[in-house]
Symmetry: C2
Subunit: 251 residues, 2 copies
Amino acid sequence: MSSPVALPGPTAAILIIGEEILSGKVEEENARFLVQELRGLGVQVRRIEVLPDIESEIASSVRTLSVRFDHIFTSGGVGPTHDDVTLPAVAGAFDMRLERRPELEALIQKALGAEMHERDLRMAEIPEGARLLYGDPPDPTRWPVVAVHNVFVLPGVPQIFRRKFDGLRSLLQAGPIFTRALYSREGEGPIAAVLDAVVAEFPGVTVGSYPRLDAPDHKVKITIDGRDLALVEQALARLCERLGPAVVRTG
Amino acid sequence: MSSPVALPGPTAAILIIGEEILSGKVEEENARFLVQELRGLGVQVRRIEVLPDIESEIASSVRTLSVRFDHIFTSGGVGPTHDDVTLPAVAGAFDMRLERRPELEALIQKALGAEMHERDLRMAEIPEGARLLYGDPPDPTRWPVVAVHNVFVLPGVPQIFRRKFDGLRSLLQAGPIFTRALYSREGEGPIAAVLDAVVAEFPGVTVGSYPRLDAPDHKVKITIDGRDLALVEQALARLCERLGPAVVRTG
């Protein structure tokens, strides 16, 4: 049994930190956004984890994922309250200490002025030696993204998450991933052997098979992904040739 | 720094198996559904993972999660094609072999009749000794949920996923989880010390703090969850008393 594997090129994992997602109080938006955006940049997301606000669990995931994937994105847990433990967790993952960074302290003081509380300064305490990414073009008057090794620490509030991610795009841009689809009027059972053969013949593409219950004209959608468009087209042509009358259309 | 921990009572983890989610081709629906439903049944979801269709990765997650949580739910990867590897992965997680179950073979034959392909029978190959759960009340003419130890193996197609989950509700029902909320006109910095104190005073509840950028009348929503309603109300009252004029309203 052959399994699809990752395409060549950069990979990513997403860590969503939030009791509010696990308890169903808030709908998850950031992983959903990131999956689409990273795909558009040519980066393959290979794992998503949603974790509670527990420092040791987050640290353990960061440590494990950071050696397996090229980029790790965390969402949430970066404010000043008791349930904000992401930055200490990332420090712990890499056996680093937290240090208060004067440039972040200054940004907090400027933003909050007389309303600043000592507690707000906790947000300026980040893993020692962390990189501060001020966007593209850099704007040192805005709050930066904290990056430690290959981990980008992003805030959980979706509006800010998206804005911060925008500043990372030029760092992440990779070659495109091409996708083609084929719609089959036969179910998965009758076409499975053909899929196996094409998967074996074209190791440079990944093939997905998705049964559909509610589509008017097909029972299965088959997708072919790859970084080499010619190869994707070749695999699609081979599938069409082998599946013959089962093919409703391609897309 | 105190972190919220799980409440007493049953816990769960959700494993979403699907390249189509990771590549952004399909929006994730099953974890979203399950989080709400399990919460309603009094079961706390403590972790969600979205994984690719790679047998060893799924097996590794199942093995790890099944000892940490009371219930594990998998979604997807149970059809007859090359990318359907969940049942072998669950077998591998527990060092079990797959065996073809005659009662499942009969259901497949009945459903597909002359259109059945040998390959469809792969769906009848499940970990040896797995339990077959036929719903409540049991209906042996419908496809059952395969359960191995504390792992429930569910299909990825959302309509079927939901129908199969319905048959598990009576097995999962636990005591209710109560939630109350408080809305603060102050930001997180000024109220963080009060939250710390209430978190320390009421270890039987969990307290969440969620900044809001777009709410007209408050800057932070605070939630208190617990299995003891009186304790949840006491913690809410203490927060109100300590936060005083910062409280916009409770809910």
